[in-house]
């Protein structure tokens, strides 16, 4: 009897512990390794899709990148002028550098106005209850946008004009 109860108690303890482990993992979901001003490996080892990246780039509830940036191959009516044009950004920056800038620009420029799209929610002040414990983009979505920007070669501008 005592033996059985012990097993039961151990099981319960394990279950409770595993619950904690999960919630801890959820809080620290934005795990990535920063090297200098880059993140060298894709977030969560995921592969991005450029077509999805383009949609996220324009979507006002997702990347909303056009709120601040210009990208001349996109014919959307309004492009913001707060950030630099992202035409040929892949010529200026490596994929790994672009990944960090989208993930959390504040690691590069602490005064940046650019939101950290995959910044740890723990570093956010007074996040709305609607967005608790979430990031603006998922790791997959960051990878999609990275792959989209990397797919824009200088000749893809020439083609459109």
């Amino acid at each position: 009897m005592i033996f059985k109860e012990n097993i039961l108690i151990t099981l319960v303890i394990f279950m409770v512990l595993s619950l904690f482990k999960n919630s801890y993992a959820a809080e620290d979901m934005t795990n990535y390794l920063m090297t200098g001003d880059s993140i060298n490996t894709p977030l969560d080892g995921l592969t991005g899709k450029p077509e999805r990246g383009q949609a996220l780039f324009r979507n006002q509830n997702k990347g909303n990148c056009l709120a601040c940036h210009q990208l001349s191959i996109l014919k959307d009516a309004f492009h913001g002028t707060i950030g630099p044009s992202l035409d040929q950004v892949s010529q200026r920056l490596t994929e790994a550098q672009i990944r960090l800038r989208i993930t959390d620009m504040k690691q590069v420029n602490p005064y940046s106005i650019m939101p950290g799209f995959y910044r740890s929610p723990k570093k956010i002040n007074r996040i709305s209850p609607l967005y608790e414990n979430s990031t603006i983009l998922t790791s997959q979505e960051v990878e999609d946008i990275v792959s989209y920007l990397m797919s824009l070669k200088p000749n893809s501008f020439a083609e459109q004009q």
């Binding site: 309004f78 106005i113 929610p121 002040n125 007074r126 709305s128 609607l130 967005y131």
Partner: protein, 260 residues
């Protein structure tokens, strides 16, 4: 030699200018949100018949003349149609209230009178009657320059508001200053960023087609930042209002303004 001399002269000139206008070259020029409007929206603001704010003023006058629990109405002290209000005094809000020993916004002052002078049950801060009264009274100071005191008893509240202004909020992780100081004049998609001045409040927003007071507008900002907002009569928003109004000291009151 000549260039050196020219340099010396221009340098002296600069020193001279600095002594004449010690703070001018360092302070950004104040620009009312009016300057960021299209011509059509400007015309709308200036036309009493097109500007929906004037309907709110009419409603405000109705409330102004309504008798309270003690049979008095606002006109008992402030005259017919508010003719006894002094624009200079209205332009000083928020200001220190000696009885309450705290700063009060114009809304707080209206609430104070509503309760203590008319014996009425306090209004909710979201109540249209309060918005209407504020619009009507602030309009009495139309054209008067905003003039908020930031010294003495007001100073700690002003400083708290200023600190708030530079604090990042929400998932967008931005502070007020980034949009309204650093990137003023740049385009956020189709919208030119203004200085976020408060001289037009309460105002009619074209985007939501609604009259709003300042805290209501601030709540919309917090929504855009994906941040947990504050209550309309919270100390945080009150302090921020002190900072924002004082930041626009010298701008002319435009209530009821039209803004995007």
């Amino acid at each position: 030699m000549i260039t050196l001399r020219a340099f010396r002269y221009s340098f002296l000139n600069l020193v001279f200018l600095f002594t004449l206008f010690p703070s001018t070259p360092l302070r950004a020029e104040l620009i009312s949100g009016y300057e960021f409007l299209s011509n059509q929206a400007k015309d709308m603001q200036n036309d009493d018949f097109q500007n929906p704010g004037y309907l709110m003023i009419e409603k405000g006058l109705e409330v102004y003349n309504t008798r309270g629990e003690n049979e008095k109405s606002c006109n008992h002290c402030h005259g017919n149609n508010g003719e006894k209000f002094t624009p200079k005094s209205i332009a000083q809000f928020p200001k220190f209230h000696n009885l309450l020993q705290a700063p009060v916004t114009l809304r707080d002052q209206i609430q104070f009178c509503w309760d203590k002078r008319l014996d009425n049950f306090p209004l909710l801060y979201d109540d249209t009657d309060l918005l209407a009264l504020e619009t009507m009274i602030r309009n009495k100071a139309y054209g008067e320059k905003v003039n908020v005191d930031t010294s003495g008893e007001m100073q700690p509240y002003y400083e708290a508001g200023k600190k708030f202004y530079f604090t990042r909020f929400g998932q967008m992780d931005m502070n007020c200053s980034q949009c309204h100081d650093v990137y003023t004049g740049r385009m956020l998609r189709g919208q030119k960023l203004s200085q976020g001045q408060t001289n037009g409040f309460p105002l009619f927003r074209l985007e939501s087609q609604k009259m709003v007071n300042l805290p209501q507008r601030l709540r919309e900002c917090f929504h855009s930042l994906r941040a947990q907002t504050f209550e309309q009569d919270s100390n945080e928003f009150r302090n921020l209002e002190i900072y924002l109004n004082a930041r626009g000291n010298g701008l002319k009151i435009e209530t009821p303004a039209i803004r995007y």
